[in-house]
Each structure stands twice: as structure tokens, then as C-alpha cells.
Symmetry: C2
Subunit: 448 residues, 2 copies
């Protein structure tokens, strides 16, 4: 029987390969990866630049050797799949030894995403970086070390922008953060964004909100950021304005894309073409609250979907799982987290009648030393009384508290349900009514 | 109309009184409290003895004045209800000005629990304490300050024992902890218990497991603990061997008790007698996993049930909510947490076919500084594949991670469901697959 072929050796691809081999060790799995790294922790790159993580090797979760020797995966580094032919069931590959075709029984497209390169003048100047791969992270750190810049521009106030602002600040350079929208961290809502912005300013970050970068200034090296009416002097610029799915290969194979621009998939990760799956940053997934396809390129989604598809390809049909868009980000001493739908307009578009509450509570019993303030916004639907989403920000206890709401979303819980869960309490860890319960009580009251 | 009468002014009673008045401000609520404190944070007492909490006043969450003036509750301190007559619908009260009867429309019995006093010789010696009220906590701290003991005995390795061992150790006294069972923290299971025991020893606590105290030694003051074949010299002894529900009043009123010995209640907190409710440490509640009545005297349960009963008495029927027995305890630098059913024998008694897994994972991404080990035990049922319970122990990220499982229990989730929740990930807070997800994957594999 022809092997399983996997296009792309990162989270989704390697999860699928590993799971398939565990279920069907007698079958062959070939993974084609165009680069030299597999299964690396992209989310750790800001901490490598910051210096918290010493070596890039620390970010490799499983080495190529382990995949080959311990998991029995036929891994081909530096091999790029240039064509998928669903009729002939074969892929065309360009490798170090030339071009060849590889027949497949089933194929998984796990081509990931790429950093969006904005159409600024000066993107090609020395000292201007995007950061979506280990070599790019290495280049940023090397430049930082070699050139010792005095001032740095971070363009984009999303996860990467916030984390990189912290990373650069650790090197005691002046950091300018540019965001074209009125707030950073748009998916987290205004309350969280404002708390993060205040904290970034406290930490000495120069925030330029509502500010579109027009071009980078410089001859061969970047020397400034021009926002139209003002030029800020910088010696390094990091552009993190989002990612876009790598869909060229899929499109060329006649695979349908969804409305988000990522590859459309069913509950099992199947695309519109027979025997062709897609997963990870290149693919859509179903949102657990809206029920609609969505594109939220995050690590867990890729890992989960890859694993499920590996199992499905091995013969045991396994849904890839819904996504809630759960996310958390560290911004210096603050933690911001979100899950589900927290934007009221988006809730209305999805057919809900949104009701929102925001409360401030404590991370520990009020009398216990070190209690920190925690702000929670909960969104609910007036008719069904379901919880739609949550956003939180605080210095302590945020990251795993959001998970309580995430599980509630997966289970379609109402605000009342959420307010009556038996959660853990001891003075060092929470008030008697955990702050999530308190927020749910307030939402329940407003809905009832 | 006759007022609502509430017997006992702690968590359940004051929650009910406050909620009722909020819903029906025109009606009267009379609370009889035999002591002088209401609504105090009993769970904070160990931290008062430790010195983390400076004043007992810090442990009062709402003052008597606030209940009276802001919430409109007719609160009578130093008034003991000595009889409840469900036929006549009146209570008999002994107050500072003598005995009187008070008619009621509906009554809530919220008499709480008392510390079990073991039948040791020497319980009446000076320097021997139980700790179930603020005055007792004050007495312990005063004795500690005034007598500067060199060695202390803690009898009982439950929450109170563990927390008090930490409290005493902070005063640099020798601490002996006696537990008659083979392990401390029985409800947390063996894996957690052993981790806690190792850590207690590291912290210099002298653990005496499998060791029944026979008597306290001393003339007027305690000078030793006799375990039969050995006497340990101590200058102070703290006995925390559990609590028992205060049911005398209910029994005298003809209210039925359940098998646990606490007051039997229905889903709305109603007892066997008309118009008589019970809540808090004196009452049973339904366990969300077994569906059976259980007695887990914890703060949140009392607060939740009180609040729900206040709402029900006000005319809007509200279930008190199921309990999962979710609990967390700090033991020096470790956190231990549990939820649901984790004892295999108990699971079998409840009709399940238990399957257990224990995994060790990290609290953060493996490469992120400060990542700590986390041990998780998950119990599942072979037939239904439902998750039955979890226990966790580690130095970081334990307290709120248990809540993820607690919500799953409330929703009757399977191991597969739990393994596919979209939980938060960023390197400073968790691995890509949160340790709860990893444990659920392993359990799912073992069940499948």
C-alpha cells in the first residue's frame, strides 16, 4: 500500500505522523519538510531573543533523529512538495537530489502560515525583521548582539509584538511599539488592552497607538520609522503584523479555501478533495461558540488536529476538535487571556444578543499576602443565557483561570451553570467565590 | 408575614440572608448567631497563626454592622436557637435578655460543624487546642507568643494539620505531625500524599505516620504526646482530626439525617420537614459524580447553598448545586489539589469500573525558566469513559488547573472530551498540551 504523505514537518504534520505510526507501525509515513527544522516551538522564539532561553536547540521539542529512529517516521528534510495531485494520488517533490514523484494513500497538507509582509518601503533594509522561523529568530538575536541598537521599533501590537517588546526591553534598548488600531491585542477586547497598554507604558515602552507605519527609513540599514508626520530613530525593526495561511499548494491541487482564506475542512480535517487532509496554521477549524469555520493559527489547534488526523488516517475516525480561540499572552508582569467570542459585534453577526459584564476581583483571599487584582469580562447571550466568551487580565492566576471558561464554552454552559461549578478554594489561591464564579454570578443576574 | 429565620450567622446563613434581602427587601430576615462573629474566613486562621495575616479583623469578610445597616438583616449576636418547631413554625431562642419564641415563615438551619474532640486523655491540659473558631485561633497564637514553645504536636494530617504544620514551622519551633492513617491528606490519594510527605520532611517536619496518639502527657500543661511506645516532648498540641456536623437542633426538630450523619437535603436544600432548609457544614449535598448525597464541609459549598436557598425562599426556586469535592491545600512550597472521585474503592462502590493514570508533566514549556514538575492522577470509568476525578501536586499552576477537571466533572465529560478542550497555551504558563490534556490523552488511550 502507498504510504501516508505529510507535507510540512511542524506541529500538525509531526503530530499526525507520530500518531499514525503509533497506531499502525507496519505502515509507512513519509514527511517532506522543506526546511531543516521539525516540530519546533515557535512560541518560544521571543524568549530566545529575550535571553530567557539560551539556545535554539532548546526550542526543538523532538529532534529529527527521534522521529526517524524512535518513531519510525520517514522524515525528509530539505524536501519541498511543489505539487499535490489528488487524481493521481501523488505529490511532486523537489529535494537535494532533484525532482521526483511520490504516490500516497492519503495526504496531509500541513504547510503552516507565513508572516505577513506589509507593503512598506524599506522592508528590505538591513535590520528589518519578521519572525516566523528559527533562523529569523537567530538573525534578530545576532543583530541585537552584534549591533547593540539603541532603539528598536516593533510594528504590530499582537502577541508577537507584545512579547518582542518585552524581549527587547530586557536588553535595555528604547522600544517603540506601533499599532495601527486604537488598541493593542484586538482579540482580547478593550478592557484587557487598556490594562496592558498602561502596563507597557509603566515598563517604559513608547506606545504609538492608532499609528500606521508608512515606511522604514535608511540607506542600507534601517535608521528610522516614518509614520507620516514624524520619524522615530531606530536601529532595528521587528514587524509582527500577523500571519497568513500557506495555501498555494492546496489551491493548485483544487482544494477549496474557506471564507477566512485558509483551507476549508470538515470535522475530521478532510478537505474538498478525496484523501486530502489539512491541519494547522494553513487550515480552518470549527469555532465551538459560533459553529462557523474560523482561522485561529495557534499551536494547540495544530497539535490536536494533527493527532486526530493521524488517528483517522489509521482507521479510527477522530474529530479534530472545535476551537474556542483560547489564548494567553505575557506582557512583562501582566498576563492577558481570552477565550470564545468577546467582541459584541461579532457575537451579533453570529446570531447572539450579547450581554457583557466586567468585574474586578482578587487572585487570592483579600487578607492573604500577595493578592493581586484580576479583571474579568464575560460575554453572554440573552436568549440562551449561554456564556459566549471571556477576557481576563492581571498579575497572577490568569492563565489557567481562562481554561475554566474555555471548558464551559465547549460544554455550552449557561452563566448560571458557570456560577455554580465547584471550584477550588484556599486562601493562597483564590477568594471563596473564585473570580470566575463571581463574574458568572454577575452575568447571570444581568441575563436573568 | 412572619420573617425568614436563619439559625447560624456564618457562610451559609449570611449568604442566604443577604441574597433574600436583595431579592425581597420588603421582607424581614432575622439571623440568630450564638457567638459574636459572623461571616468570618475560618480558612484564614492558619495564616493568622503563621503571622501572614496580622489581625483577626482581617478575617471578617463582612462586619455585623454592614449586614444590619447596608443589607438590612436583623442580626442578633449572642442569641442561641435552642429549639425549632416545624409544626408551630417557630424557634425558641436564648438571648442576653432571656428566652423567647420567634415565629417564622421559613427557617434555615445553618449551624455548621464542630471540631471532633478525640477521646484522648489530656485533651483538657493547658496548651492543647482545637481550632474551629476565631477565639480558638487567637488562643493558639497568644499561647505561641507568650509561651514560646520549643516543640509542637499537630495531631491529624488533613488540611488543618498540614496548614498548621506550616504555620508553626514559621515560628521556628520543632513540629511533630501525627497521622493515624498510613498517609496524610487521605482524600487526595497516595501519589499526592507521598509528594506532600516528602516535602514536609524536607521542610523539617517530623512526620509520624500510621501513628495513633494515645494521650497527652502533663500535669496542668501539656508536656508530651504518648503514642504507646514512645513519648515526644512538646509544649503545645493542636488537634485537627476533622469536623462533625452540628445536627442536634435539627434532630430535635424531627429533621432527618442522611447516611453521612449530616442533615439530608433535596436539590433545593429542603429538609424532611416543611419550610425547614439546611445548608453549609451541617448539611449534605449531592455529589456530581456519584449522584449520591455526600458531606464535604467546605466554604464554597456553604456559600453557594446559602445563596441559592436565599433565592428559593424569596420565591425563585434555585438548586443549591452539586458538589465535586474540589479542594486545594498549600503545604509550604507545594500545592495539592483534588476533585471528584479518586479512590478506586469508592468508585467501585458507586458502580464504576475505575481506570487510573498518573503522569508527570511540566507547569510551563520545558525550555521556559522556572518550569516545575506537576503530577496528575486521573480516574476514569471504563464503560462510560467518563472522567471521575483528579488529584494533582506540584509547586506551580496546580490550584486553578484542578478547576479545569472540576468543570469537566460537572458536565459529565469523557476522557476524550477533556483531552480535546481548547485550553490556553503560552510558554510561561504551560506546555502546548497542558498537563491536564496530556493526562486526559493517556487516560483516553487506556480506556479506548
Amino acid at each position: 500500500m502507498d504510504p501516508i504523505v505529510i507535507v510540512g514537518g511542524d506541529a500538525a504534520g509531526m503530530s499526525a505522523a507520530s500518531k499514525f505510526k503509533r497506531e499502525r507501525p507496519e505502515r509507512d509515513v513519509v514527511v517532506f519538510e522543506k526546511g531543516e527544522y521539525v516540530s519546533y516551538a515557535a512560541c518560544g522564539m521571543p524568549y530566545y531573543v529575550k535571553g530567557d532561553v539560551e539556545s535554539l536547540d532548546d526550542l526543538l521539542t523532538v529532534s529529527p533523529e527521534e522521529f526517524v529512529e524512535e518513531r519510525g517516521v520517514d522524515l525528509r528534510l530539505h524536501h519541498e512538495v511543489v505539487d499535490v495531485d489528488p487524481e493521481a494520488r501523488e505529490v511532486t517533490v523537489e529535494g537535494p537530489d532533484g525532482r521526483f514523484t511520490q504516490p500516497y494513500d492519503q495526504v496531509l497538507i500541513a504547510t503552516g502560515a507565513h508572516a505577513v509582509v506589509p507593503p512598506f518601503e524599506g522592508m528590505d533594509l538591513e535590520g528589518v525583521f519578521t519572525m516566523h522561523s528559527l533562523p529569523e529568530a537567530e538573525a534578530v538575536r545576532d543583530y541585537l548582539t552584534a549591533e547593540a541598537p539603541e532603539a528598536v521599533a516593533v510594528v504590530g501590537g499582537g502577541y508577537v509584538g507584545i512579547e518582542m517588546a518585552e524581549a527587547f526591553a530586557a536588553h535595555e534598548v528604547e522600544v517603540h511599539l506601533f499599532e495601527m488600531l486604537p488598541h493593542v491585542l484586538a482579540p482580547f477586547g478593550e478592557t484587557v488592552a487598556e490594562a496592558v497598554e498602561d502596563h507597557l507604558r509603566e515598563q517604559g515602552i513608547h506606545l504609538h497607538l492608532d499609528t500606521a507605519v508608512e515606511r522604514f527609513v535608511g540607506d542600507t540599514r534601517v535608521t528610522g520609522v516614518d509614520v507620516g508626520d514624524e520619524v522615530s530613530d531606530v536601529d532595528l525593526a521587528l514587524v509582527g503584523v500577523g500571519v497568513a495561511p500557506n495555501t498555494e499548494l492546496a489551491e493548485a491541487a483544487g482544494v477549496e479555501l474557506g471564507e477566512t482564506g485558509a483551507i476549508a475542512t470538515d470535522a475530521y480535517g478532510r478537505t474538498s478533495r478525496a484523501k486530502v487532509f489539512a491541519a494547522g496554521d494553513c487550515a480552518e477549524a470549527r469555532h465551538v461558540v459560533t459553529g462557523d469555520p474560523d482561522h485561529v493559527p495557534l499551536a494547540l489547534t495544530a497539535n490536536r488536529a494533527g493527532r486526530a488526523i493521524g488517528q483517522t488516517m489509521a482507521g479510527e475516525e477522530t474529530p479534530v476538535g472545535d476551537i474556542a480561540g483560547t489564548a494567553v499572552v505575557k506582557a512583562f508582569d501582566l498576563t492577558a487571556a481570552r477565550t470564545g467570542v468577546i467582541d459584541e459585534d461579532r457575537a451579533r453577526e453570529a446570531g447572539f444578543d450579547p450581554v457583557s459584564v466586567t468585574i474586578t476581583a482578587a487572585s487570592r483571599a483579600h487578607y492573604y499576602p500577595g493578592a493581586e487584582e484580576l479583571t474579568i469580562t464575560l460575554l453572554g447571550d440573552r436568549d440562551s443565557e449561554r456564556v459566549l466568551g471571556a477576557a481576563m487580565v492581571g498579575r497572577e492566576g490568569v492563565a489557567k483561570r481562562i481554561d475554566t471558561v474555555a471548558v464551559a464554552l465547549h460544554e455550552g454552559a449557561t452563566a448560571h451553570d458557570l456560577s455554580y461549578y465547584d471550584l477550588a478554594y484556599a486562601p493562597p489561591y483564590s477568594p471563596v467565590w473564585d473570580s470566575v464564579l463571581t463574574a458568572a454570578k454577575v452575568l447571570d443576574g444581568k441575563l436573568g
